[in-house]
Symmetry: C2
Subunit: 562 residues, 2 copies
């Protein structure tokens, strides 16, 4: 009878244990969990805090409402789950784990044939003065979630800061904003959501600001300020001080590898436990899964940390099977797909951003597509997608998408395209589900592929909003051509010195353009579809340097005249 | 200067013309359109009829509200569009098309260098008595849409029948139902939506019925009945008569190939115009696109008709480019991806159904997954997916999905999986965008792949609800085991003679099972996840013939006790 001990009972651990059980009804399986709760839906914490639902048990229950406690684990799965129990050490020679009951303080030795490390990750904490003040928290545990939910309900706190503008920082910002708290996100990097390229992140930042939350970027935390042991404010690295009664730390997580490294198990270069594709550590009898391991970026082949709940579950399923039947199954790694709700926007990414593609040494092309997810008559909402493709192989390398539209479907499509090794050409003729309630006749993703193909084929020269802004700011003003209708221009415009010539009048008003046919002309419209058509018309009339401002006004991240 | 004539101005024709223009500013491009309208968003007709929006111009406008009329085509695209103009004949020797202005009745000859046939399809009409009665229509033109919208608004008509339970029939049923009309769908086949397998279609039928619309299947139309030239009812092939004042015919479309065949252009075996991958007909100077052509099913390699608006646009883009730059671009065909809104459900399919896989001679496996699209605490909605995979290569062959949840994303994921040639194993570890507002930690699609892998690996024996029903009806009753909680059983149950043993009690109550460990036991729960766990437990205790009823109660298409 195989004895399996699983250290960690949040996501990857229970999944490993459950999969092992399904493959071996007679194995002796024990889960050791430090916290009092098991199988918490921890990704749901911000939505509990934000009041999307009220019953905290929903984070701890099966879909039919049964709390996943030790009794449930024993009855339904035949698994012993020891909660409030800490694993102290691993003796690999004797194949024994020493654990301590945190209530009784009694220690116990558990022998194993196979051991699973699912020790998770701990929040990274800033090393600044004042970190121990009352009013500083993370959102990483049920306890944290209960604490912040209480704050949201009590409505006493007026001002809070979020330290870190990543996924959890933004989700927590929305949650506390919904409770009427005035929020400021402080991010050390120049942008929010580092998985996005800068101009995409700026669109997210604009949306966060439009909701009344403040964003301070390129500025780190220097100190927590307090009185009588209570938080009263923060001081930033540039000296600015902000009042606040609450601070949430969300600057990422660090794999919990203490147990593993003390036992001499190999740790990878990223700081996560090293595992092979079978989720096996350097000790063949010890597997590791979830946030404590490092995994392979499938595009670059490099090791990365990818502490996501979905991958934790998939890794657990692979490990659980391999433990029982031998190393039959493989976990192939990640393409770093992620998504985040940001108030009425969503922001997602899969594969490589432009920044990541550059760092990995690819010869790549990028393009931005701004267009609705559905027809106007079905109340379509805007999506802005940035696509990255390999110039040589024409394979899709990455996609980012933000906006009020159905980002999730777009990112899923691109993730699948990358997993299938599809090229831009493959995507130009993808056969996706079309009906007006669900998409445009040419799906937003396919339209992005069309634009990318146009660029790769030399039919379109693109220029980003950022580049246009830089040209203007530096005094090298190009001829800026807005080709929308005059009614549209009256309603909304950039006001950067552009000339308005509606597309329908362009052929007859070409004399208003620069006499020098090699002069740089930047064409755009609301989403730059007409901007592209204008560029094609001008190319047909001998203009050699007409660039399309990608994504048009919808992707312009800077202030507009109106 | 290349002269291009495009016959057809609905979807594929204008797309071809626009793409050709973007690649050649100086080509002379003329669109010939029989109807008075151009570039109609014809897939939107049912939603206009149903009152999802009120301004019919939204079906005819650019996103900025400019009607796509001949003036627009000339100004914005430099394209001559002749509306209310019929193409009468093609002289391939002289490279001339004879057209007639339907208002002035004047004929004219247009010469071409390249000709594009985008002649679309016409509604298939039943050959039955009474077809000319007043009150019988299709929903294939703006005129039809205006007629039905008026009927919906007037609220005079009480009863209508839809002849045909395909996509358009169902969309029209919903539209008219919203106007308070009592609807009956009459379908000659045993099921609605023939792209679905029977048990999936039954779930859709149940939903349609739950909304108060009637469905009559396996019964064709024999005759339209009328008085004084007006429709009063229909008679079915089995003799039943139904009162109705309105009948909508939606039994599919037939490619318009008269012009092409009269000109000696080759027609394919399916009845559509034969084209190569460049969208070129048997005459190298004539291309054809959209609903009038046949295309290649990419999985089977067989020719099929796929009259969908999205493919029409993609084909147009390929043809438009090839006409100008030579045959550089290819249209690879279709995997027959489709989707349909059905009241609060959606129903979609991509690739091969079980029926299609069988017909194509595949050695395949199927599985059904019923689970929500999102966590319960984020108000997840049910999805039921049926997956078809190749046993040998383990490649995904097809997926169908129905339910109130986000079907569109699921079908998009599977379509991409098929386009990428992905296997079940690839899908078990897909890296999709996860956060609680968007999906479960294990995406519904990935969970379906897990189930399929379990079946292919011999860890799960499945049985469909239909098979269980047949066994019971035939008197070969298996031991039917519901493993839900007793509270769940009180709230909802099949009532087919099942025994209730909650999963958590199964290990201790195994003596209640058949003494013969080779007896057939059918295990299930609400979605059959616990059903699967029960089967694994019993297998571990020597039971050799435990089958999981796939999709559980949620996929049971027959009446329940409660």
């Amino acid at each position: 009878m195989t004895k399996i001990v699983v250290i960690g009972g949040s996501a990857a651990g229970p999944k490993t244990a459950a999969r092992a059980r399904r493959l071996d009804e007679h194995a002796e399986i024990t889960i050791i969990q430090k916290s009092p709760d098991l199988s918490m839906a921890s990704c749901g914490y911000p939505y509990f805090v934000g009041g999307f639902f009220d019953d905290r048990n929903q984070l701890l229950c099966t879909p039919t409402g049964v709390v996943r406690d030790p009794k449930f684990f024993m009855a339904a799965k035949g698994i012993v789950a020891k909660t409030s129990t800490e694993a102290l050490s691993i003796d690999r020679e004797r194949k024994i784990v020493t654990v301590k009951d945190l209530n009784s303080h009694c220690a116990e030795e558990l022998s194993y044939d196979k051991l699973v490390l699912a020790t998770g990750a701990k929040p990274r904490m800033p090393r600044v003065p004042g970190i121990d003040l009352e009013g500083i928290t993370t959102l990483q545990s049920m306890k944290d979630a209960d604490f912040l939910r209480k704050i949201a309900e009590e409505k006493k706190i007026k001002k809070a800061v979020i330290i870190g503008g990543g996924l959890i920082g933004i989700e927590t910002c929305e949650a506390l904003h919904l409770a009427g708290i005035k929020l400021t996100i402080v991010e050390m990097l120049p942008q929010l959501l580092s998985f996005l390229d800068m101009e995409m992140a700026k669109l997210v930042e604009n949306h966060v600001r439009s909701k009344g939350a403040n964003v301070i970027s390129s500025n780190g935390l220097a100190e927590f300020l307090g009185e009588n042991g209570k938080l009263t404010g923060i001081k930033l690295q540039n000296g600015i001080e902000l009042d606040c009664e609450l601070a949430i730390i969300a600057i990422g997580v660090i794999p919990n590898t203490d147990l593993a490294s003390q036992a001499g198990i190999e740790i990878g270069t990223t700081g996560g436990i090293l595992v092979n594709s079978h989720m096996q550590t350097s000790d063949p009898d010890i597997y590791a899964v979830g946030d404590c391991v490092e995994t392979t970026q499938r595009l670059t082949g490099k090791k990365v940390l990818a502490p996501y709940g979905d991958l934790a579950n998939l890794q657990g399923r692979v490990a659980g099977e391999n433990i029982i039947v031998g190393n039959k199954k493989e976990f192939p790694g990640t393409i770093q797909t992620g998504i985040c709700k940001v108030f009425d926007f969503s922001a997602g990414s899969t594969g490589l951003s432009e920044r990541a593609a550059k760092a990995a040494g690819y010869d790549f092309e990028t393009v931005i597509n701004a267009s609705p997810d559905k027809p106007g008559f079905m109340k379509g909402l805007l999506l802005v997608t940035k696509l990255v493709a390999d110039r040589k192989t024409r394979k899709i390398l990455g996609a980012q998408c933000v906006g009020p539209g159905d980002v999730s479907k777009q990112i899923a499509e691109w993730a699948m395209a990358i997993l299938g090794g599809l090229t831009v050409e493959d995507m130009t003729n993808a056969d996706l589900p079309y009906a007006p309630p669900f998409s445009l006749a040419i799906d937003h993703a396919i339209a992005a592929a069309h634009l990318m193909q146009n660029k790769l084929d030399g039919l379109m020269m693109g220029i980003s909003a950022t580049e246009v802004k830089q040209l203007i700011d530096s005094g090298n003003r190009p001829f800026v051509l807005d080709v929308r209708g005059s009614d549209e221009y009256e309603a909304m415009r950039l006001g950067i010195g552009e000339d308005l010539i509606p597309l329908g009048a362009l052929r007859t008003r070409m004399k208003e353009l620069p006499a020098d046919k090699n002069a740089l002309i930047v064409a755009y419209c609301k989403i730059s579809l007409r901007g592209y058509e204008a560029a094609r018309i001008l190319a047909g009339h001998g203009y050699t340097n007409v660039k399309v401002m990608e994504g048009g006004i919808m992707a312009w991240p800077f202030p507009r005249e109106k």
